[in-house]
């Protein structure tokens, strides 16, 4: 293998698994260390800069970081990164003084369609640069799906108000209750740029016999959640069936439990394991006495005199064809009718752009989705950008934030007369953490604690009040314990070939047998010759150039604890622990471009 180029920003970024997996690339270990030090406001601001909604995401994020967390490869459970984010939001001081000031207007006007996370992120990035940002939303208050679709027992209004308020306070013009019905009309208002962050607002229908006849008691999940959120709906029947296995279904069933649903059942077509809902959301639903039945396909709504009486299901089983593709085939068991008073349909969401006329210069693909560049988020109309669920279909908040940052950057570049497809490199800072022979400026003593559970409100009380937040969040002590579990993966092991005397001290001390000194070879061959087996080929090998004996140093990054013992036991300083702080470049930063060399 060729010697690893550690100057390429991506190499060490990948080692910080959580940050790499996060769509917004939040510097996770950095903020976790700040939490451990009790510097909650500092931790909050790092999050605020990167993911805009720390308090909201700390309760609702889909957490792509956690399955990626190295700790999960070392022991059973990853660090509770998401709930630590909430800790920063819960315990911070008043941070308003740290927010950017509303800037003098630069005369450029940007219209933002939809008041959800994508649009608000664009506004957050552009408003401090002087852009006049106008956000339009059909709802009276900002937040979009964060406000309408996520139940209050998971995300209180106060948190949404606070974090959307920070953005609107930057001098953003919010036009609530103002639905945009025509792109043509909007274009005619001569905005310098338009950003579409209108989400995926339409719940998918379930068109099976009886749907029309029993319509009064069949509700589309996200619409029903929005009605609950605004107080238009405040009760439901005693027996409720929720169809669908995503997070919306979990929100529906738990909401139903709080509005009078005594016997609430979730029924999914596929297997329990394959459900789209996050494992922890399934756990929370089961904890609230909601059974989840699987391999049952709804075939008809049963009704008598226009009144829903139940749903008939066909039992299926999974079969795999020669290519390993799964098919659901009838199991042969007789169909089963489950009686119920109400049904909530949460079988997916769709985009809908009836308001974008065909002659706006915005091309759509065969799935009726706008053609959007995945890097610049530009549509085929150079002035119109898309982001969030509106760009590539339903994902989640953190993706919307990431899209928003990228789209804001494109808008800023376009309106500054720069090429929008030239994307800036991330900002990388590297600094040795060595303080003394065996002292480091980070805590390298590895905690053996298992993941701490987040305290929950008593179930009886929680089920009585739809606005009572179920999760109470970590207290300071639990937060410290959980923060200590972080392995500081951003404190990188950096190797200097010229200093190495091949004494083997690092290979001997490494608790995880990450380091091997051996003859060089192709990657597949090298992976066979490591001191400990290489279980994850997607984890890079760090390979040195040739050492004095002709061998190379190979480090499997996979399960390195970043304990720094290799550097402590190295007599020549060939190993050093260096903190890599990697931050994505947002609109208005100094924007180092690819034409410049890496840090």
């Amino acid at each position: 293998m060729k010697p690893t180029d550690i100057a390429a920003p991506d190499y060490f970024h990948k080692v910080v698994d959580c940050q790499w997996a996060c769509p917004a690339h939040t510097p996770v270990p950095e903020y976790i260390r700040l939490i451990a030090q009790g510097r909650y406001s500092d931790a909050y601001m790092i999050n605020w800069k990167s993911n805009v909604f720390p308090g909201i995401l700390g309760r609702t994020c889909d957490r792509p970081c956690e399955p990626a967390c190295r700790r999960g490869r070392v022991e059973e459970n990853p660090v509770a990164i998401c709930r630590l984010k909430r800790v920063a939001a819960d315990f911070k001081d008043d941070i308003r003084q740290r927010l950017p000031r509303p800037a003098p207007k630069n005369g450029k006007r940007v219209a933002l369609v939809g008041g959800g996370p994508a649009s608000l992120t664009v506004a957050r990035d552009l408003a401090p640069l002087g852009y006049h940002c106008t956000v339009f939303d059909a709802d009276p208050e900002a937040g979009g799906m964060m406000r309408t679709q996520i139940p209050k027992f998971r995300l209180p209004n106060s948190v949404i108000d606070e974090e959307t308020g920070y953005i609107l306070g930057l001098g953003v013009d919010f036009k609530g209750g103002q639905r945009i019905d025509s792109m043509k009309a909007l274009l005619a208002e001569k905005y310098d740029a338009i950003f579409v962050g209108s989400g995926a607002p339409r719940g998918r229908e379930l068109d099976i016999p009886g749907r029309k006849e029993a319509a009064a008691n069949i509700h589309i999940g996200i619409e029903w959640l929005a009605n609950v959120s605004f107080g238009h709906t405040d009760r439901i029947g005693k027996r409720v069936i929720v169809l669908g296995g995503g997070n919306t279904a979990m929100d529906c069933c738990r909401t139903a439990r709080r509005l009078g649903g005594e016997k609430v059942t979730v029924i999914v077509r596929s297997g329990f394991e394959e459900m789209k809902a996050s494992p922890w959301e399934k756990e929370d639903a089961i904890h609230e006495d909601i059974p989840i039945l699987n391999y049952m396909v709804p075939v008809a709504f049963k009704h008598v005199a226009g009144k829903l009486i139940g749903v008939t299901f066909q039992h299926v089983k999974a079969e795999y064809d020669a290519r390993g593709r799964r098919n659901l085939v009838p199991s042969g068991d007789p169909d089963q009718t489950i009686p119920c008073d109400d049904v909530l349909v949460a079988v997916g969401q769709e985009n809908a752009f009836p308001w974008i006329e065909q002659d706006c210069g915005i091309e759509f693909d065969k799935w009726h989705m706008p053609k959007v560049d995945p890097e610049t988020f530009a549509s085929t109309n150079p002035k119109v950008f898309f982001g969030g669920d509106a760009a590539f279909g339903p994902k989640n908040i953190i993706w919307a934030v990431a899209h928003g940052h990228d789209a804001a950057l494109s808008i800023h570049k376009m309106l500054s007369g720069e090429a929008i497809d030239e994307r800036p490199l991330p900002d990388v800072q590297v600094s040795s953490q060595k303080m003394g022979i065996h002292e480091w400026s980070y805590d390298n003593d590895i905690s053996n604690d298992k993941r701490f559970k987040v305290p929950h409100r008593d179930k009886v009380i929680a089920l009585k009040d739809i606005r009572a937040e179920v999760e109470l969040g970590y207290d300071v002590k639990l937060a410290l314990g959980e923060a200590e579990r972080c392995l500081n993966c951003d404190v990188q092991t950096v190797f200097s070939t010229s200093l190495c005397i091949e004494c083997d001290a690092c290979a001997d001390i490494c608790p995880m047998d990450c380091i091997t000194f051996t003859a060089n070879g192709e990657e597949s061959d090298l992976r066979q010759r490591l001191k400990a087996p290489s279980a994850h080929p997607d984890q890079d090998l760090y390979v040195s150039s040739d050492l004095k004996t002709g061998r190379v140093m190979v480090k499997d990054e996979d399960v390195c604890l970043h304990c720094g013992l290799c550097a402590e036991r190295c007599p020549t300083g060939a190993w050093d622990m260096q903190k890599y702080f990697i931050e994505m470049t947002h609109a208005g930063s100094t924007c180092p471009t690819k034409s410049r060399s890496a840090a």
Binding site: R73, V74, E75, I437, H438, N444, D445, I446, N448, I501, E502, C503, D504, A505, A507, D508, I509, P511, M512, D513, C514, A532, P533, A535, K548, T549, V559, L561, C563, L565, E568, R569, C570, P571, T572
Partner: protein, 351 residues
Amino acid sequence: MTYIAKPKFHHPGLKKNELGYTHRDYEGKISTLCAGCGHDSITASIIEACYELSIEPHRVAKISGIGCSSKTPDYFLGNSHGFNSVHGRMPSVLTGANLANRDLIYLGVSGDGDSASIGFGQFAHSIRRGVNMTYIVENNGVYGLTKGQFSATADRGSKSKKGVTNTDNAIDLVAIALQLGATFVARSFSGDKTQLVPLIAAAIRHKGASFIDVISPCIAFNNHAGSTKSFDYVREHNDAVNRLDVLVGRDPIAVDYAPGTVQLVEQHDGSRIALRKIDADYDPHDRLGAQTFLAKHAAKGQIVTGLLYVDPDAEDLHAHLDTVETPLNTLEADTLCPGSAVLDKINASLR
């Protein structure tokens, strides 16, 4: 010195030996030696050898004297018996322990000061008597604990860190061990575990006095130009006569050796050593030849490493003394004391 404990976590894919232990289970406390010390590599090699042989840690007694080397038993086999004795007296303590309980595996760990200076006589007599042990000298050529004076194994003409030339002749412990009748003699280098680990494993399986001289660079005081025990010097002058694999039980012999290059040595306990010859003319069963070979190469400034001599049919001290198979420390009083009638008989025969 490292202040944190070595993390308990280990690689999830670590292989387990026959006893269900990983090599991490053979560790001791974290080393307090200087960073990069060759002794730590020897510690790692002992751990690896014991792991590979699936030795039960409680069947091992590790005994040492005084010095950097003699601290190392604290860093391996944390669940074994240990005795940190007086300077240079490891061989006596080991001999005594071995006589009392012949069932344990004895690891004598010593250094060049402990064995070639203050304990030179002790070293000589334990070898001469054929005590069943693995005697490892961690040889760095300097007194590291007292800041780098030449030890008795420092080569004449080699230079200290401050540039002083050594004018005394060096003691070659391997030559002495051969001369005194050790039945397993080897030399290796802390920076070459592929050679060292099987040597330690073979020595542990050898029944008799096994002696391994391991050159172990002292990073703090003896790893400079002018030293003959530095990483660079040893790597440049290392003349390995063979490499080996230890085969225990029914392990098949690996087939990737070129024909005629492998010599199988079957030891007393049934284990086999597969010797891959590097020097085709070297015969590890020829004590006199080995002595001559060593002397010739030493004169040329070469450091001969590998398994230098082995007598697969060796006998140990217990065989010489014709002691009972049962360890003496488990014999009950009625077995040990034949009674007054027998005493009277003996006395009568002497009258």
